[in-house]
Symmetry: C2
Subunit: 201 residues, 2 copies
């Protein structure tokens, strides 16, 4: 496969975009950490997403210059996250992979997975801790109890919110849209510093 030509501008649309594709892959890969996925995994996803094509393991290995093992594991993980899908081609024994194209679906899949992996276990722990604290019965409300409660309430609200976003297809989008519109009314001008009296700080 042709490496980068000396002249970054090329004739055909495909060539023209080659450089941009690389740049996108790089940017998206760097971003990986935010979503809790490794750089390579993010790059594989970037490649599949931005090209929109179905690719086999060898295509991916070649394009990203990674080992077969790494490609295999990254693809598997992306399948687990539900952001890419297997594609079969008649008369071809290889498996192909294609990225989900709707960015909202991608986002929902990631949020769903992260909440499941990170927030849910935390909530379980928090509940266990609080219940143990409470079973003493006599002293229901220490400062520590109150802080635990605060935190549980917060994360339960957050989970509920995430559930809405990741709910049935389309609702997340609608929800966000309504939020972006409605919030003006609720919050007022965002830019403006509303002269609210503040509490202790």
């Amino acid at each position: 496969m042709g490496a980068t030509p000396d002249n970054t501008d090329a004739g055909t649309p495909d060539d023209r975009h080659e450089h941009d594709v690389e740049r996108f892959i790089e940017a998206w890969g760097r971003m990986g950490s935010v979503w809790g996925i490794s750089r390579t995994m993010a790059e594989v996803h970037a490649l599949l997403y931005i090209t929109g094509e179905a690719m086999c393991t060898d295509d991916i290995m070649a394009h990203l210059e990674i080992s077969r093992g790494n490609a295999s594991m990254s693809l598997r993980a992306l399948l687990d996250w539900g952001v890419i899908a297997r594609v079969h081609r008649r008369g071809d024994r290889k498996e192909y992979f294609q990225a989900e194209q709707d960015i909202w679906s991608i986002f929902r899949a990631i949020v769903r997975e992260r909440v499941k992996r990170e927030v849910d276990p935390l909530l379980v722990s928090l509940h266990e801790i609080r219940d143990r604290t409470r079973e003493h019965g006599d002293k229901p409300e220490t400062d520590i109890d109150r802080r635990l409660d605060q935190m549980i309430v917060f994360f339960e609200d957050a989970t509920r919110l995430a559930d809405r976003f990741t709910g049935p297809s389309g609702s997340g989008l609608k929800l966000a849209a309504s939020l972006l519109n409605a919030s003006d009314k609720v919050v007022g001008r965002v830019g403006g510093r509303s002269s609210k009296r503040k509490g202790t700080g």
Copy 2:
């Protein structure tokens, strides 16, 4: 998940909670990755948050069994994130540190910081890539262009949303509250399908 084989209950409320404090620190530390902070940093924050007390470096070193260097760096990072504050005590040369107690403030600080560090640079890259793509002029709309656009729109919306949440004190809370209430109307009976987080695992 071993419970307590021997009875760790002690008489005083302080002793009673010691074990729970440890558990909370552990849980919160494990959570760190989600927020993009290291385990120790999260543990330092957990300790300060759950006790609510102002502590000096030595207190923290002793409690978490970490080195002075580590404590110093973690505290500095937490200060940068804006989730703890310095406290001075008359006649004491040591510095003390105390955690922000309002969990919404903590959340806002973290979101603000992460957007700044991760999303903003991505958006810059995305814009650069698209602009370069566009400057060819002749073919304004390839599939790749369209996907880049999609992504830019998405992250700009997301940033705007995050800005609202992290905006003037209190508004994030109101916004979330309104969202949790309003979303029933907007989305319809999403809750119909029970979105329970429990599960057996």
